[in-house]
Symmetry: C2
């Protein structure tokens, strides 16, 4: 069946003019884009008049199941928050809790126009199940840590879990699920383990997700420990031979940026989490000028507290102006790819993130009729500065509509509320 | 008629426990708060189960009619933005444009749970008309400038307009409209004029709205010109004898904070505008520690680009953590009054901003059922970090419901769209 989205506008940042166009979708792909596309009576038509069409938003750093800890232990210093609240709560996690926590995250993301996310956590098969059932896309990774030298990969149950995840789910759902490896961070791992994991993942051609220079303490301690920054540490161990997404990057140096550029490492910018946890502000302008691929991430709901890429986009679009005291340091048009195609590139999904014939039909419609989006002089600015998640009236992944006009098509939200509530009450109250 | 809001929760920041309560409203006032209040069959009942009740949000710095310029001239340095885009556009303003621009702002604010705003602009009788018709509250002020010494108040048409505004509208709508005076800023005024306006406004017991130390250039130039900071400048001229709301305050010193404390000046914190225009970040922690009344403002939609106090609240609640690199520098509970009662105090509305018997019934209901607000461990954190404007399901001002479940009761939004669109096309395209 063909779906025809009619008379919709697309921001200039994605290569379109101001005139509305039609977009045809067949199966999982965009098959035509143009004015007044022919329609047959059998086609499903979506009236896009007054709406904006965007490539689906991509969330390049998330711990989906941590929706269970949204608001759990607020306003604490990072170490106390982790040690007194999050780690003990994570100790009580079960398959079931992770499944419902992941589904809660996915429901929120679909409603917010996110069509794909990158995830780093435990109990990943449960998250994979929620991804496959819900229709969203995700790059899933089992977070790996190693606190002693000499851990052998073939004796490490965590690594075995990561391998099993890749074996079972990489490419599942007609490619909707991809599996990456994840070295949690420099400060939670030993060099020999990082090198071995990196070598294994590279040999399978799999991606890598890791935390990089999130806090100043972490960045400085790495230099004290290893005589080099976290970026140099991972590069020298061969980890960056895997296509890598490095989350946070708050304290990267110009040398780090050059290293990341050399290896094609994507920086996942998580502005809300970095502010809320008191980490700081990533040097976005220097990173863009250094030629890095920069994308946006929410981090987990425990440190955000929402999974809303339009919110991250807006914060990103104003924060660097304010911090650098230069209103012209970034433009709206320059920011939009951070929320879309740069994320798709980070995920190893070259056919996602754009609106073009042959691209995957990961698309969202944004309703611009509410007063807060009036008037419109510049669609790029409307997306970057005015639009909000509740304006998303349709979310489509691989041509399948998952959210339309306030309702889910693939998630039983009443059951989700009930089951997530039960899990939360049982494990965390 | 009595309205009974039943089984609703109220965050601890407003002095309530975790158990749901009923709130009774008669006329413009809250007449009872408690568990299981008696109801008679004639009462209108609002089921608040699953919702949160908050005092109406207060926007303490706005230029409402500038919704017309939302997105008009983005990503420019402040001086080019003003000189090339905003000032020429403002030159073309008319009564009609300001009326519809103000109504567009008011519609957005009502939907976003804002029950009162402070405004500084021109053509104020048109804004007053929109306020009176829509049912919202506002402190309106005619922005005054003086670029030469020796301007006599009784020969100044701007001042005459400000006086006429006060004569015609102060106290109108059973007190919904209050009229303040407004000295636009130090850099747009001469000292003798400021002193005379301040003396006049103080003699009538009226409030004062002004811009203070918004940019570093402005702050420094004032010191060069007058040998003192803008805060000292206004204090020494007697302006602060009027109850004053000073917008921005990005560059205030500890001495300025002491001066503001002495005179009871409210600082209107506009974090989005200050970031987007490249101004910087107000020293919130020092100001709170210095005993200042701090409230939140959006500034105009041209520099925000929305009129959303929940958004400002969230940004405020995370920004200072990040800038100061201390996750515990502010708490959610500490931030909530900035969006509510501190704003009401700034506006000279002592019976607004709280939920208590005898308070004005300026109340909003926030629907917490969406996935992005699950779970809830701490209602203060939910409001500060998760809730969004689209969760506001009811906005009540003086006991009158202006917004309920997606619909306006006092604004014909279709006509608004049409007329605002016409004005925008006619004057600004």
């Amino acid at each position: 069946m063909k779906t025809l989205i009619r008379n919709v506008r697309i921001p200039a940042a994605f290569g379109f003019g101001t005139a509305p166009v039609d977009v045809a979708v067949e199966g999982a792909y965009i098959t035509a884009v143009g004015a007044d596309l022919p329609a047959s009576p059998a086609d499903k038509r979506v009236d896009g008049r007054g709406d904006l069409l965007l490539p689906g938003l991509v969330n390049t750093h998330c711990h989906a199941a941590m929706t269970l800890f949204r608001g759990y232990g607020e306003d604490l210093p990072l170490s106390r928050w982790l040690e007194e609240r999050i780690f003990p709560a994570e100790d009580r996690l079960t398959d079931e809790a992770v499944y419902w926590g992941s589904m809660l995250a996915i429901a929120e993301m679909i409603r917010n126009g996110i069509t794909s996310f990158s995830d780093m956590y435990f109990f990943c098969p449960e998250t994979a199940r929620a991804v496959l059932e819900s229709g969203i896309k995700a790059n899933l990774s089992r977070s790996l840590v190693s606190f002693a030298d000499g851990i052998k990969l073939d004796e490490d149950p965590r690594f075995a879990g990561a391998v099993a995840l890749a074996d079972a789910f990489h490419g599942a759902g007609e490619g909707r699920v991809r599996v990456d490896f994840s070295i949690h961070a420099e400060y939670t791992n030993r060099p020999d383990y990082c090198a071995a994991v990196g070598e294994y993942a590279a040999s399978r051609g799999l991606g890598m997700q890791l935390h990089l220079s999130e806090t100043e303490d972490e960045h400085r301690a790495c230099i004290e420990r290893h005589g080099k920054t976290p970026a140099a540490f991972f590069a020298d161990l061969g980890v960056f031979r895997c296509p890598t997404t490095a989350a946070h990057c708050v304290f990267v140096t110009d040398e780090d940026i050059a290293i990341m550029r050399e290896y094609g490492v994507t920086a996942s910018h998580n502005p809300t989490s970095n502010l809320k946890l008191g980490s700081g502000v990533m040097p976005l302008r220097r990173m863009l000028d250094g030629g890095l691929n920069v994308a946006l991430g929410t981090d987990g709901a425990a440190s955000n507290n929402t999974l809303d890429i339009l919110r991250e986009l807006r914060l990103c679009a104003i924060l660097h102006k304010g911090i650098n005291r230069r209103a012209d340091i970034t433009t709206a048009a320059e920011m939009l790819p951070l929320a879309t195609q740069n994320g798709a590139r980070a995920q190893g999904r070259p056919d996602c993130g754009t609106i073009a014939v042959g691209s995957r039909a990961d698309l969202i419609l944004v309703d611009l009729s509410a007063p807060h989006n009036m008037p419109i002089y510049d669609l790029d600015a409307t997306v970057a500065y005015s639009a909000e998640a509740s304006d998303v009236r349709m979310t489509m992944v691989d041509g399948r509509i998952l959210w339309a006009d306030g309702a889910y098509t693939s998630i039983d939200v009443e059951r989700l509320r009930r089951e997530a509530g039960r899990v939360i009450a049982h494990y965390f109250d």
